[in-house]
Symmetry: C2
Subunit: 126 residues, 2 copies
């Protein structure tokens, strides 16, 4: 996710479809929503995030945080101590997304069994 190779800016057509697509391209990747959810409880250090998001690699955490920062959803604060300390927290814009990620998390937990069962049934039918 090199910043210089990111997709082109959103056009100014008022097509909801296109807007949703553009935002999804930013926030619909593998880790963004998870990070936003994590930061919902308050600011966190880099390594704290790394430990609490199971399975994320250092590289992907860096890249995803950089993108979220670029999009104004997350703020990065460096404290030049030794060892250095870098904190990330949601901006107002990031917090405005929280209710959605919360809702999504609740939906996921509530319906995961139904999805799992549907998948098993579908695969059995083939």
């Amino acid at each position: 996710m090199d910043v210089s190779t990111l997709p082109p800016p959103v056009t100014h057509e008022s097509d909801t479809c296109a807007v949703v697509r553009a935002i999804l391209a930013r926030v619909g990747d593998k880790w963004s929503i998870l990070i936003v959810r994590m930061l919902g409880d308050g600011s966190m250090r880099f390594s704290e995030l790394r430990r609490s998001i199971e399975g994320i690699s250092q590289r992907m955490l860096t890249l995803t945080l950089r993108n979220l920062e670029r999009d104004g959803l997350v703020e990065r604060t460096v404290t030049p101590t030794t060892p250095p300390r870098v904190d990330y927290e949601l901006t107002d814009l990031g917090r405005s997304l929280q209710s959605i990620t919360e809702a999504f998390g609740r939906w996921a937990v509530t319906h995961r069994d139904q999805i799992e069962n549907a998948r098993i049934r579908f695969d059995a039918r083939q």
Copy 2:
């Protein structure tokens, strides 16, 4: 040094984390949310969907619909006429996701300018 001294505590957070990741892997792709939003207004034919979701290829529409069907979010109905007619509509499970996709759509439309501006500012800073 003994490395095994820090067992990753299986908290409620990390559980939710795994579930969210699993559901995101299904529904967080480029087109699923858009299709669910489209079908929110009622059942639609394949080609109807293709025309109304700007930019989707036939292949991705087929694949995404197949996955949504597999996960029990969408129901597929074939009417063997000539030309064949295939209708797709949301299941109850699919409809339960609607409020979230609606909210996401609204959020995307409302905040896209803020994201766009943040991105421009960030890029200018580099």
